[in-house]
Structures are given as structure tokens and as C-alpha cells.
């Protein structure tokens, strides 16, 4: 009985000490991250905009109705485009990164480390700088390098960022350029962790490249790279910089009208100054993210992950 109360006391002390030591961090997060999200929720029920900055009134679920039910407002289109964007980018990234990482691991490739260093260079550059360099250096219709080359070979210059489809393709190229180094590094690391003897015995049994890829490599690296894939999928889903900086900077719109949910929310907030509506978009995205992470938690629990 006495022993029990001592362990009880100790337990309470652990709780107390734990919260005391985590308090600074948790307080920062609570005040600067969580509270503004709640406040965003509050704004989303009002008609706050640039004319009603302080004298806003409540108008219930109006903003949510506008976003989800009035298709002309463009939120649903932006959401669909974001899903397409994420899917296209993830598929291309995985395939290209896998091929490159495999090629890097070919036996007797002496310059492997040099190639790796050069290939991860885009990762080391500040992202927004690279995007701006792409925008002016490569895609600019007058002095961009791509058009200079086209003209030299006798073709008409192309307005790379003007149409929706071509701008989407250009954004994808830049995003791949930015994101591939991380994926290559992850897959390369995973490939190193596979015991070479598996391949040798597979070869002895007469399995070709496809068979050993399908039966050995993919299953072996799957669990190692899954967390990185999940993280990258989230990053791609909430990608803002590439699309915003390439096509829709204030005063420098290029004519393409591609919006992901993030650039959409930003435009509603800071260009058309519809704060209430934009906040509603934020909350919808937040709820979507809750859904996603619950889904991921469930799956990782099923596969025996720590959660």
C-alpha cells in the first residue's frame, strides 16, 4: 500500500517535471501557432475585408458556402488542381529519383560522389532565389535562355508562363528541379542499406533486373523511404513559392491562371483583401490536413509503425 503511494507520487512528479521542462516550447506553440489558427476560425465567420477591418459583422457560414458551393469562386477548381499537381509531381519525382539513384549505384562508377554533389546543388540554393533565377534567366520571353536558344535555331519564341498548361508544365519542371535532390538522397541512402548478397543469390537463381527490382529492391526500400515520401507529398501539396513566384507576383502576372489552394488563399487575403473568405479557405485546408494525417496515422498503425 505504502509502496503504491510512493510510485504514485513519483508518477505525479514525472508529469509535473515533464510539463515544466516542455513549457517554454509548448507555450510558444500555443500562443504563436495554435491561437492564430483559432483566431483564423473566428475571422472565417465574419465579413472582414479591407473596408470592414474593425467594424466587421458575423455572417455565419456564408464564406464556407461561397467556397464550397459556388463553383465560380474557383476554390474547388484550385483544390482539384492541387491534387493533380501533387499527383503528377510525386509520380515523376519517385520515378526519376529512383532511376537516377539506381544509376548512381552502378558498380565501378568512379565519379559517383562528384555527381552526387553536383546533383544536390539545387537543394543547397535558397529556394526562392532559384525560382526567381528560373523565372528571369530561363523563362523570360525576351532575354530568357530558352527563348534565346529557340530564336538561334530559327524557331518562334515561346511565352513560357502565359498559358495554363504550359505554365503548369514549367512549374512542374522547376519543382522537380528543387525537390529531386532530396528524393535522390533518400533513395540512394535506402539502396545502400540493402544487403548485396540478396542480389547475388537472385542472380544465381536467374532473376533479371526487373525481377530483382520488383522482388528485392522495391520491397526493401519501401519502409525506409515511406516517411520521406509522406513528408514530400505534404510539401508538394502545400507548395506555394514555385507557382506564386513564377506566375502571379503582384504586378507581374504572367497571364497563366493556375491556382493551388495556397496561392488561392493568399490571393484572396492579400490581393483582393477578402479576409473572412480567405480565412474560411484556411480552415477548410486545415480540416483537410486533419483528415490526411488521421489517414496516415491509421495506416502506419496498421503496418506496425510506432505512430
Amino acid at each position: 500500500m505504502k509502496k503504491n503511494s510512493i510510485s504514485e507520487k513519483r508518477k505525479r512528479r514525472t508529469v509535473w517535471v515533464s510539463y515544466l521542462w516542455s513549457m517554454p516550447s509548448l507555450l510558444l506553440i500555443l500562443l504563436i501557432v495554435i491561437f492564430p489558427i483559432f483566431y483564423t476560425g473566428y475571422i472565417s465567420f465574419t465579413n472582414m475585408n479591407v473596408y470592414h477591418w474593425t467594424d466587421y459583422t458575423f455572417h455565419g457560414l456564408e464564406n464556407y458556402k461561397d467556397a464550397l458551393l459556388v463553383l465560380d469562386n474557383g476554390f474547388v477548381a484550385a483544390l482539384l488542381l492541387t491534387i493533380l499537381w501533387t499527383a503528377v509531381n510525386m509520380v515523376l519525382q519517385l520515378i526519376i529519383a529512383y532511376v537516377l539513384a539506381s544509376l548512381l549505384n552502378i558498380r565501378d562508377l568512379k565519379l559517383r560522389n562528384l555527381y552526387k554533389t553536383l546533383l544536390i546543388f539545387p537543394w543547397a540554393m535558397p529556394g526562392y532565389v532559384s525560382i526567381l533565377l528560373w523565372k528571369t534567366g530561363m523563362f523570360n520571353s525576351q532575354f530568357g535562355l530558352l527563348n534565346q536558344w529557340l530564336v538561334r535555331f530559327g524557331f518562334e519564341p515561346v511565352r513560357w508562363l502565359a498559358g495554363d498548361v504550359i505554365a503548369f508544365a514549367c512549374c512542374t519542371v522547376v519543382n522537380l528541379w528543387l525537390a529531386l535532390p532530396f528524393m535522390i538522397t533518400i533513395i540512394d541512402g535506402a539502396l545502400h542499406s540493402i544487403d548485396q548478397s540478396f542480389y547475388e543469390s537472385a542472380r544465381l537463381e536467374g532473376a533479371g533486373w526487373f525481377k530483382s527490382t520488383y522482388y528485392i529492391t522495391v520491397p526493401m526500400i519501401k519502409s525506409i523511404i515511406t516517411p520521406a515520401i509522406v513528408i514530400t507529398a505534404f510539401t508538394t501539396f502545400k507548395q506555394f513559392d514555385v507557382i506564386y513566384l513564377l506566375t502571379q507576383q503582384v504586378g507581374a502576372k504572367t497571364g497563366a491562371d493556375i491556382h493551388t489552394i495556397l496561392t488561392y488563399a493568399y490571393e484572396k487575403a492579400f490581393i483582393t483583401n477578402n479576409y473572412g473568405y480567405s480565412s474560411a479557405i484556411s480552415i477548410i485546408i486545415f480540416i483537410l490536413l486533419i483528415g490526411f494525417s488521421m489517414l496516415i496515422n491509421q495506416r502506419s498503425n496498421k503496418t506496425g509503425g510506432e505512430g
Partner: protein, 280 residues
Amino acid sequence: MKRRYKKILILTAVNLFFVSLCIIILIPILYALSVSLNEENSLLSTDFSFIPRHFTFMNYKAVFVEEPILVWFKNSSILAVITLFVSLGAGIPAAYIFSRKRFPGRKLILQLLVLLYAFPSLLSMIALYKLLSPMGLINTKLGLIIVYTGTMAVFALWNMKGYFDTIPREIEEAAMIDGTSSVQLVLRVVLPLAKPTIVVTAMMVLIFVWNEYIFAINFMMGSDTYTLAAGLYSLQATEMSGSWPVFSAAAIVVSIPILVIFFALQRYMTAGLTTGGVKG
């Protein structure tokens, strides 16, 4: 013999492939570098070459003389250092506790952290603006520091907790049996073990502050208060047509510190990132 030839052929092909791939990938950066060093701004000429014909540092001089880049540099450095100290100072003990102790609410908080990590702070920008504005914190460094610290506190706690999980407890237990006090334990045993994750997390915080432009351009008014990222953004937005060479020189200048930090700490990167944050 035939097999050997085939192997050499494949190796040559792969090498050729990688050489051209590396060149293609580096073109945007090389092009900017070359434009920034070229005296003739004959951007429209069709005989452009990657090696500048008339070598010059004019554009770099213009960056430092005509643009307040040193002020921006100072602003960015102040923001980065304070954000770094606050978020790591708060984050290290919390990450250690969340990795080692079990207490009610822990699991819930961890799940919440993943969610907050996924939620871009951009989406609560209006709320942050509306909250900071009556306190007079818009257009001040403190305002930006507050925003950055919050975002980075989530990242720091989550990333370092993941790394602490991979350090075996036995080491600490052994030290405890030897009679080390808990403060000593943390200072002498835990912190040295956690060095890789502290370094990587610190680097990520630095890079985040260095590269953040969207809050900076919306919360700061006037180019004296800009950070490097906001300054560079405004450079390209306002004077782009006239001074693309100056902009590319500025872009190179801004990138160099980040490149140096990145490649100096690259060996920690993979370990600190893959075993850390991304793991549940």
C-alpha cells in the same frame, strides 16, 4: 572479352549521361553567374556564351553600393540568430522530455504537432497580422521574430524528438548508475549525443529565416527594414527589366552563405533528417 567491352560501354554511357545531366541542372545558376560577371549587358544578342567576354565586378559593386544589401544582411542575421536561440533553447529540453518521459497528454500533443507541422503558417497570416497590429508589432523585427519562432518551435521540437528516440536509453542509464546528477547527465551525456540533430535543426532554422520572404514583404514596409529575402524579392519585382545583371549578382551574393553552410554540414544532413523528424 565481349562482356568486358559491354561493361565499359555501359559505364561510358552512364558517365556521359551524368555529366550532361549535371550541366543541364546547373544551367540556371551558371547562367546567372555568367550574366552577373559580364560587362556587356547585351542580353538580347544571339551570340551569348557562358564565359563572359568582358569580365567585370561592376554588378557586384552595384549590389553593395546602390542597394541597401548590407542593411538587409544585418536584419536577416539578427532575425536568424534570435529565432535560432529561442526555438532551440525552448525546443531541446522539450524534445528530450517528449522522447524520454511518458506522461498523460504526450501522445495527443505529438499528434497535434504533426498536424501543425503540416499546416503552413502562411494560412494564418491574416490572423497573425490582426493580432500583432494592435500591439504595434507590425513593421518591427520583434513581430517577424515572433512569427518565425512559432513556426520553428514546432519544427525543432518534432525534428529533435525524432532523433532523441534513436539514441539508446542504456547510455543514460549507465551514466545514472555511475551517480551522475540529472543536470550533469543532460549536459555531459545527452547534449553531446544529440549534436548531429542540434546542428541540423539549427541549420534548418537559419535557412528558413534566410529564405522567408512572404511574411517579410507583407509585415515590413520600407526597404530599410527588409530582410535579404524580402530585399531580393523587391529588387526583382521593381527593377527587373533594367537590372537583371544586378539582380543575378545579388542572387549569387545572397546564396553564398547558405551554400557554404549547407555543404559544410552536409554529412550531418542525411543522418539528422532521415533518422529524425520524418520518423513517427
